[in-house]
């Protein structure tokens, strides 16, 4: 299979990722409704599919207001950061053989770097709004994402040790015979939880926690700036689902169907799983969240790295 010109990969991945992110708004509302015994959006177009379009028109037509007390340049910059960092991460994801923007030899580290830069979006949005609730949300977001990033990186080191590379293409190739979810089950569970925390989805949405902080870090945002946070969240969900597929479920590998279809099926499965988590789990208290991260997840992640390393060493003898 000849690989297309990189620009086609860029355009293709960009358009598909943004379409999925927009479509997810409808998918999530319908799925949530299904699991909560109601209909969800069902009036606009067939099955309510055009609801997304209606929402987009509404959000574009809204007044794009910057509060007079806000720190204007930072206030405008913050929503862009979340979108840029997530879209940059899509560059290193191998969708199918040859369909990848850049096969970096440090692809996995690039993903981790971009996700750690994504924190700024929350922190700066919270700070620049000059609003107590937004500041609280921003500080919660910073503490939570920093803590969960620590073992997100650690949980992936087992995969790196097994594959012997940071390149995501080589990690997928190394899973030709056995998906890493089997030897790295602990790493998989850790990564899913860390991924939930990174995308700030329920049960980890303490940065916005609407029942106690109004809307947290984006309380002062309206119009398309709020829309960017919203789309950024769904892009984040898509990104983490794609990463789970690539790192633990063999990426494009699968029988009969073409590689691209397998990749999409697996990714959508995890997106649906993320929505189910939102439907099923309550929000913890903030100190519970932090204690869970540092006292439970971090030791397990360290143990996982230790055991994987030992087994790998013993195997190679």
């Amino acid at each position: 299979m000849t690989s297309p010109h990189p620009i086609w990969s860029v355009l293709g991945i960009l358009i598909v990722a943004l379409t999925i992110a927009a479509g997810l708004i409808w998918v999530e509302r319908r799925l949530l409704a299904l699991w909560q015994d109601r209909y969800g959006p069902n009036r606009v177009g067939p099955f309510g599919l055009l609801q997304v379009l209606a929402d987009t028109i509404k959000i574009l037509a809204k007044e794009d207001w910057v509060p007079p007390f806000a720190d204007k340049p930072v206030f405008v910059l913050a929503p862009a950061i979340v979108l840029i960092t997530v879209l940059m991460s899509f560059a290193v994801i191998p969708v199918a053989p040859g369909i990848i923007v850049s096969d970096l030899n440090i692809g996995l580290l690039f993903f981790l770097g971009m996700s750690s830069l994504g924190v700024y979006s929350i922190v700066l949005a919270g700070w620049s709004s000059d609003n107590k609730y937004a500041l609280l949300g921003g500080m919660r977001g910073a503490a939570q994402m920093l803590s969960y990033e620590v073992f997100m990186g650690l949980s992936l080191m087992g995969v790196v040790a097994l594959a012997g590379s940071f390149s995501l293409v080589q990690i997928v190739e190394a899973q030709r015979n056995l998906w890493y979810v089997v030897p790295q089950f602990a790493g998989f569970v850790l990564f899913v939880i860390a991924g939930l925390a990174e995308t700030r989805r329920l049960p980890f949405d303490l940065a916005e926690a609407e029942s106690e902080l109004i809307a947290g870090f984006h309380a002062e945002y309206s119009g398309m700036k709020f829309g960017l946070f919203f789309v950024g969240e769904y892009l984040g969900v898509t990104l983490i689902s794609a990463m789970i597929t690539v790192l633990f479920f063999g990426g494009w590998h699968g029988p009969v169907l073409p590689p691209l279809v397998w990749f999409l099926i697996k990714t959508f499965f995890f997106i649906a799983f993320f929505v189910l988590m939102r439907a099923a789990l309550p929000r913890p208290r903030f100190d519970q969240l932090m204690a869970f991260g540092w006292k439970v997840m971090l030791p397990i992640a360290l143990l996982n790295v230790l055991v994987t390393g030992a087994v790998k060493l013993a195997w190679s003898r």
Partner: protein, 197 residues
């Protein structure tokens, strides 16, 4: 790659200068983050992708977030910026300017003598970095880990003592490490309450 290196270097220097001259602490930190990202790009063009990635993850992504976190907690307002402007007298530039000038002359001399400083022979893979760290430089790794451990224990100890003091002062029901506001910097943000909702 040469052009990329020099552009990144210019961005790094410019951002660092702006870091020093901003009076708003958060804006200064944003420029510092930009400077670190530019240094990461410079590392990448020099053939050290692993170090570039670590620069982004650790410096730009983790340490600077903590800096911003602290500045946010201090809640510096207009008065802090005014204070900063008052502290900055023209005379204080002389010392650092002379030292920086010496370094500049040194760098210029090295660049002129060695010709092109960029264009590394080959890219350094993560594996090579790891083998160097846990081979000839093992003692350095161990020493820095001891240092980090000592820092961690120290921070834990200080945090614990503060909570104990709080308990003695206010009774047992206060279990947060909340510190009484003191010092000019903390009070500097007090005027924001009038404007903030």
């Amino acid at each position: 790659m040469d052009a990329a290196f020099y552009i990144a270097s210019v961005v790094a220097i410019g951002a660092t200068v702006l870091t020093i001259t901003r009076t708003n602490a958060v804006h200064a930190l944003l420029y510092l983050i930009l400077s670190l990202l530019a240094v990461a790009v410079a590392f990448y063009t020099m053939g050290a992708p692993f170090i570039a990635a670590l620069e982004v993850i650790i410096y730009a992504g983790a340490i600077m977030v903590l800096f911003i976190f602290i500045v946010m907690m201090l809640n510096l307002g207009e008065r802090a910026a005014a204070l900063e402007r008052r502290w900055r007298t023209p005379g204080m530039w002389r010392g650092p300017a002379i030292l920086a000038g010496l370094l500049l002359i040194e760098v210029a001399y090295l660049l002129l003598r060695a010709g092109n400083a960029t264009g590394a022979a080959q890219a350094v893979e993560p594996k090579q970095v790891a083998m160097a760290l846990f081979g000839p430089y093992l003692i350095g790794v161990e020493l820095s880990s001891i240092l980090l451990l000592a820092g961690m224990i120290g921070a834990y100890h200080l945090g614990m003592r503060k909570i104990e003091e709080m308990r003695e002062e206010h009774g047992t029901h206060i279990d947060e490490g909340r510190v009484v506001a003191s010092g000019d910097l903390v009070h500097a943000g007090a005027d924001r309450a009038d404007r903030a909702p």
